[in-house]
């Protein structure tokens, strides 16, 4: 998590993780339900602006460009040209015709994906994992499941660190780890064995650690160092998120 300390970033960081999850969920699902894709792109713009305001603009744009543009193009190609729903044709490329229905569908799916992605990314960047899990357990999530979520989230950086250590060791023994793809693959393959094997020992020892720290001895009533507050801002945001979700239903009901 990067720490950028403008007041908006601080404000966003202090929002209850449950509120953030609810917003991510309501925005994504709302856009999926809402018949036209333009709401989705409007919200995406708002998310980018929010990203810029909290100093994450570049990363959010990168995410959208790197993932969103290829996926959108692919969806447009498949759905726009070949969807069986296509009735109204809007363009003719010779080898295929582009249909309005498929195009709209593709745009909606891609906007929904992008909103989930961008919103979730912003949430991760402004929330500590442990806070999210603390908030979830405080609102009734089983502590064992909470532990599983957290520990899995932390496994990736741990593995990366281990690979780096072994790579450095190999490099110091003269193994070439940069260069062509083949060269790198050759250097990487022998790493898998040690990393997996040591991960097994790691798993056993980490299990020991949990036992000797008394994981689960107090039943489902552990206390937490982290206090997650629900402020009036959280309440307002939650109401707005739910209203958005409900409002997306209205055009369907009319």
């Amino acid at each position: 998590m990067e720490t950028i300390d403008n007041s908006i970033a601080v404000l966003v960081r202090n929002i209850n993780p449950i509120t953030k999850l609810l917003i991510v969920f309501c925005l994504g699902i709302g856009c999926l339900i809402y018949p036209l894709p333009f709401v989705g792109y409007g919200i995406l713009c708002l998310l980018v602006i929010l990203g810029i305001l909290i100093g994450q603009g570049k990363q959010v744009l990168k995410l959208i460009a790197g993932f969103g543009i290829p996926v959108t193009l692919m969806l447009l190609f498949i759905q726009g040209l070949y969807s069986p729903k296509n009735i109204t044709m809007i363009a003719d490329f010779g080898f295929a015709q582009m249909g309005l229905e498929g195009t709209m569908y593709a745009l909606k799916i891609s906007s929904t994906l992008l909103i989930f992605l961008a919103a979730f990314y912003l949430m991760l960047q402004t929330t500590k994992n442990s806070e999210t899990v603390a908030a979830l357990t405080q609102s009734g999530l089983n502590t064992k499941i909470g532990y599983l979520i957290l520990a899995s989230l932390n496994v990736v950086p741990q593995m990366q660190r281990k690979v780096k250590v072994i790579q450095e060791a190999q490099e110091s023994r003269g193994v070439e780890i940069s260069g062509s793809f083949i060269q790198r693959a050759k250097a990487f393959l022998p790493l898998i064995g040690p990393v997996v094997l040591s991960s097994l020992t790691d798993a056993q020892e980490r299990g020991m650690t949990l036992e000797i720290r008394g994981f689960g001895i107090n039943g489902d009533k552990p206390t937490s160092y982290i206090k997650v507050e629900t402020t009036s801002l959280d309440i307002v945001l939650r109401i707005i998120a739910i209203c958005f979700l409900i409002s997306s239903l209205i055009p369907r009901l009319l």
């Binding site: 442990s130 806070e131 899990v133 650690t209 949990l210 000797i212 994981f215 552990p222 160092y225 982290i226």
Partner: protein, 292 residues
């Protein structure tokens, strides 16, 4: 009057997939407040014994055990490791595997065991502050535990065990990642904890340290306790070399410098003993044969 806190009665253990036993008929007692050291070659069963003392054997590891271990009156086989952890704490070698992997900061890490015990949040703060000062990790409290150096994580691992205020602390080679000065600091802290009444069981390869700190020393070989007693009894034993253990350097030095039988006690085990002995001898020599 001293009371027995740990009673290991003819305890044997074999890990599930191993053909050799890792512990063979181990029998020992630890009195409350004692400082016990366990030494022996790699693979002699020291860590296995540590795991058995805290109940991980037989409750967590899969294997076959015989005999019985009681800790503070509780049979380790009939209570959970978690329950036993209220009495006996363990710090083992690899500090990175002693993190909970649920904490974003060192302070949260220290609070983890407290949280499991249901310690109220406002009590956590004072405990964390106290332990951070003791272990000299104040500056690390807001750092991510995954981004610390080996020595720093080792301090955090120790702090996470000590913060739970166990009656007994089992330390299995817990300073291997620390530099000599850091390791010295930790030993000073452990010594103080022992003086404040906490029983210590320590596995260590530094014989000078063992001789300095331990009340009792046990030597393990192939899973058996082959020698046990005060540091003096153990390190002066003629059998010691057979068990792949060498006495503290001070012993070798004083033994080699001072002629056998020259004094009633012609050896030293610790630094301070060696200094005192050598000064005494040199001073006497000077008096007897004054130089012209």
């Amino acid at each position: 009057m001293t009371s027995t806190l740990i009673q290991v009665s003819h305890f044997s253990y074999r890990y599930n997939q191993e053909s050799e036993v890792a512990l063979k008929n181990v029998h020992l007692e630890v009195a409350a407040g004692e400082f016990v050291a366990m030494i022996g070659a790699n693979g002699s069963g020291k860590s296995t014994l540590c795991n058995a003392l805290v109940g991980l054997i037989p409750n967590y590891f899969v294997g076959y055990s015989e005999g019985r271990i009681t800790v503070d009156g509780k049979d380790t086989a009939s209570v959970s490791v978690g329950e036993l952890s209220q009495t006996i704490g363990l710090v083992f070698q690899n500090p990175f595997n002693q993190l909970s992997y649920t904490a974003d900061t060192v302070a949260e890490e220290l609070a983890y065991g407290l949280g499991n015990r249901g310690v109220p949040r406002d009590e956590m703060f004072s405990k964390i502050k106290k332990i951070a000062e003791l272990m000299q990790i104040d500056e690390l409290l807001d750092k991510n535990p995954l981004e610390l150096s080996g020595g720093q994580v080792q301090r955090v691992a120790l702090a996470s065990a000590i913060i739970l205020e166990p009656k007994i602390l089992v330390l299995d080679e817990c300073t291997t990642q620390l530099d000599p000065i850091g390791s010295e600091q930790i030993m000073d802290i452990i010594k103080k904890l022992n003086e404040s009444g906490i029983t210590i069981v320590m596995v260590d390869h530094d014989m000078e340290r063992v001789a300095e700190l331990a009340d009792k020393v046990y030597v393990l070989q192939h899973g058996s306790i082959v020698l046990g007693g005060t540091p003096e009894e153990v390190f002066c034993s003629p059998q010691l070399a057979e068990f792949s253990v060498s006495p503290p350097d001070y012993y070798e030095i004083t033994k080699n410098v001072i002629q056998p039988g020259y004094r009633e006690k012609d050896f030293a085990l610790t630094e301070s003993q060696a200094i005192a002995l050598l000064q005494e001898v040199l001073y006497e020599d000077r008096n007897q044969e004054p130089q012209a």
